[in-house]
């Protein structure tokens, strides 16, 4: 038994295809992005070593930092929206008839491509014929804004479809966690005279704290990677007002053909994402330990 299942050739045979793909197409490119970041390179011609110049440019590039700021803002919005999703899940999981079909309806936008969602919401936001402004004009607001062309509004306008897209996903997760709470616990509390509010805040929410932490990490890290929706809806515009890290990197590399600088930004994106993941995990874990002692 042991001999067969620890045969080195068999192990290699089974792990190799996946491991090779992982190393060659993910880990090695990640390392290379740091290396290419040290080059001046237009994507086709020869590379020229220029040291840390690209990284120094990045640190001084206000456009880059404004894209970082927008990414963090979206991450903050996403984290806050979790509270709304949680509230909806609490209602949905409290013995509501048809809760199963409702949560399945909520999930529909999550299954569509971000490109289709972006195209649909471009139409929703159309200044004259879109669903939103037609509605606003119908209720007497004469001069509704051109949402995606207004630098001060565009980031919020982009966040609405994101909120819409991910609602079903997080509600699904919270719903499953809430349904996992032993019914006996809730019943006992009700018997002792606890109100629905008390049951929610003192029993249900503490019990799904772990799941909530996981979703915070997911929401924040996920937001730092946003690309498709923004790229299609605004291309980062108007005038950089909705530029995020990934879209800025893409623009520098594949539109301005500055692949060296693009690689440097790609690498900074990696470092920032990993650092934020680490910090958010650290914060939530120490929280948990506090609870235990």
């Amino acid at each position: 038994m042991n001999k067969v299942m620890s045969n080195i050739w068999m192990i290699t045979l089974y792990i190799l295809p996946a491991l090779l793909l992982l190393l060659v197409l993910i880990y090695i490119p990640l390392g290379l992005s740091a290396y290419y970041g040290l080059m001046e390179w237009d994507g086709i011609g020869n590379m020229k070593f220029i040291g840390l110049e690209n990284f120094i440019t990045g640190i001084q590039d206000m456009k880059f930092w404004s894209s970082v700021y927008h990414s963090f803002l979206l991450a903050l919005f996403s984290a806050l929206s979790l509270l709304a999703y949680l509230a909806i899940s609490l209602i949905l999981a409290s013995n509501i008839k048809g809760s199963d079909i409702l949560r399945k309806i909520y999930l529909i936008p999550m299954l569509l491509s971000s490109v289709a969602i972006a195209q649909l919401w471009i139409k929703v936001y159309n200044p004259t014929n879109g669903m939103l402004n037609s509605f606003l004009m119908a209720i007497g607001i004469d001069d509704p804004p051109a949402w995606l062309a207004e630098p001060s509004l565009v980031l919020y306008a982009i966040f609405i479809p994101i909120l819409w897209q991910y609602a079903g996903f997080y509600i699904l997760i919270y719903y499953a966690a809430l349904k996992n709470i032993p019914a006996a616990l809730v019943e006992a509390a009700r018997m002792d005279g606890a109100s629905p509010w008390q049951v929610a805040f003192n029993i249900k929410l503490p019990l799904i704290k772990g799941v909530f932490k996981v979703t915070i990490v997911l929401a924040i890290v996920g937001s730092l990677k946003y690309f498709d929706l923004i790229y299609v809806m605004t291309g980062g515009g108007p005038n950089g007002a909705s530029e995020v890290m990934a879209s800025y990197m893409y623009k520098v590399a594949f539109r301005s053909y500055d692949f060296g600088y693009g690689s440097a930004i790609g690498f900074l994106l990696l470092i920032i994402t990993l650092m934020v993941t680490f910090i958010v995990r650290k914060l939530t874990v120490s929280d948990e330990e506090e609870l235990q002692y």
Partner: protein, 273 residues
């Protein structure tokens, strides 16, 4: 009193459901209208008669090719992803070797990596082996980048498989390959089908890899193809709506048949790690 509260909560939940599907209903409405109706009448009005010619117009572009590409590229990538992920999960959870924990860790860290950080080096890699504007680059990228999440869903299931089964099989002289192909894989069909559907949705909706690696129309998938098509028809809303509907319609069909699997896969892809 409690009754009233219940009704209020119910109404809230139903309003949210309407918000979640109304934009899609509106999309379907304008996919059946001509420009005159779209621009002159209320956006919430029903079409005077359904303008199916919008769908004809949409189909006359390259959308048939894009549709076909989406199907075969997604399918090939799903088969490779699920096969390689199953093999790797089998090796990590059932076989005994020193580095298994470390390799598992590598795959799980892969879940957090932003693909944009790898994009330029990947582009250069494919360029150097002449795979740019070749769908193989897209298939390989889909497979590699979806291995971690697929393995995460599979892991929980593999850990629960009883050891006695493989012990008995090996005692009877069954080889590792037979054990995997004839015993383990059939036992995991339920979780396998979940990973197949989830991967199918991911691949169907993917945009960045195709947009970056593919330039000829003949290899583009729907997400990138409709993007070009819509660029040409900017003011012609009807065909745009029809194109979007065609591009998303397989998903609701899949959802009607496999909603439980999709729900299961979506939550498993988030939590287990």
């Amino acid at each position: 009193m409690q009754r009233v509260g219940y009704v209020v909560l119910y109404v809230i939940l139903i309003i949210i459901a309407i918000v979640q599907i109304f934009p899609l209903f509106w999309l379907f409405l304008f996919s059946l209208k001509d420009n005159q109706q779209i621009f002159a009448k209320s956006p919430f009005s029903l079409p005077d008669h359904p303008h199916w010619e919008n769908y004809l117009k949409a189909w006359q572009g390259n959308i048939g090719t894009y549709f076909f590409n989406s199907i075969w590229i997604s399918t090939v990538a799903v088969v490779l992803t699920v096969l390689f992920a199953s093999m790797a999960t089998f090796a990590i959870t059932r076989m005994k070797w020193k580095l298994s924990k470390l390799v598992l860790g590598l795959f799980m860290v892969g879940l957090m990596i932003p693909l944009h950080s790898a994009l330029i080096p990947l582009f250069k890699l494919y360029l150097s082996v002449d795979l740019i504007d070749n769908p193989i680059s897209v298939v390989l990228s889909y497979t590699a980048f979806h291995l971690p999440v697929t393995m995460m869903i599979l892991l929980g299931f593999y850990y629960t498989l009883p050891k006695e089964i493989e012990e008995a099989a090996i005692m009877d002289g069954c080889s590792v390959n037979l054990l995997f192909a004839r015993i383990i894989l059939p036992m995991t069909t339920s979780v396998l089908s979940t990973t197949v559907i989830i991967n199918m949705i991911y691949n169907w909706n993917e945009f960045v890899f195709v947009n970056t690696f593919i330039s000829s129309d003949q290899y583009k998938t729907l997400t990138v193809g409709i993007q070009n098509f819509i660029g040409q028809y900017q003011t012609d809303w009807g065909p745009i709506g029809a194109t979007l509907i065609i591009s998303i319609v397989p998903i609701p069909i899949l959802y009607i048949f496999f909603s439980n699997k999709i729900v299961e896969g979506m939550s498993a892809s988030a939590i287990k790690g």
